[in-house]
Symmetry: C2
Subunit: 172 residues, 2 copies
Amino acid sequence: MASIELDAIDRRILAILQENGRLSNQDIAERVNLSPSPCLRRIRRLEESGVIRGYVALLDAQKLGLDLLAYVSVRLEKRGGLAVTAVREGPAGRAGTTHAELFRAAVQTWPEVVACHAMTGDMDFLLRVQVEDMAHFSRFVQDQLLHHPSVIDVKSSFSLDTFKETTALPIR
Amino acid sequence: MASIELDAIDRRILAILQENGRLSNQDIAERVNLSPSPCLRRIRRLEESGVIRGYVALLDAQKLGLDLLAYVSVRLEKRGGLAVTAVREGPAGRAGTTHAELFRAAVQTWPEVVACHAMTGDMDFLLRVQVEDMAHFSRFVQDQLLHHPSVIDVKSSFSLDTFKETTALPIR
DNA sequence: CGTGAAACATTAGCGGC
DNA sequence: GCCGCTAATGTTTCACG
């Protein structure tokens, strides 16, 4: 998985692209002291190996009216919930549908959840939730999270100020 | 701040670009049923108004050997710490250097911290920390976080599995 | 908003180190 | 193997209708 050989030039290319993903190949080539063709070959190799997962535009949440950022810890039912037994007793017999799997599938359908991790500690999941305001957040918690049959506990904290936020990973 | 007028086409352009930031203007124009020039004018307007903050390449943390993702809650000294009084009693007189300001400045210099928010709740700050392994994480906590004079408490949770992670914001 | 033309960028093939 | 040149193709950009 972590077995892609990267030399110093590859790492410089990655550092440049994760700061500005729209630089032309010519610009990048110039900055790493290469001519355009070998530079492009390296970039394509990084893309195909999956080291570069993709290119995106980053938008300003506030300018889109998304003024509330919350981190929500969620704890799930561990066994025997209604949803799970309902699925398990279905025509397919013993399906492998656990509470965690049901919850994960639901998370994928909620656009306000921009990140979700299974976590160590007291809570099972940590969600990052981006919404317009507290009214929207309240509706999300009531109608989606607490309404979900696998969820048994929810704890929210709100961002007062985001003073560091980067998609750039630390490249050794 | 949230006062930029966006019509349906602008929103479609944003939705496209936050999924694929390297599409050519021609491709985007085609998808929104516009010819290249007005499409480019819209994109430039979105860039200049700051709705589009920038373009980046997203890298694969695991393929770069960054196998450990932690969320760290940090609580700070509220008044009278050594660092603060030292600065306040400096030659410039009463500087406005609080514990929070000292901590924020330190966070900016730590590359393993990829996000940091001031938060509501028991803890003052939430950090997202991306490192190679537990040995690196341990060193970061001991040598950077706990070593910082303003920090009085640290609680860490670790990601077992990231099953949703997007930079794409929900556009209404 | 769309057209067209100039400037610029990407990319495949080939020869050289 | 990896580099750099060239030349064809495709893209961006801007003045103008």
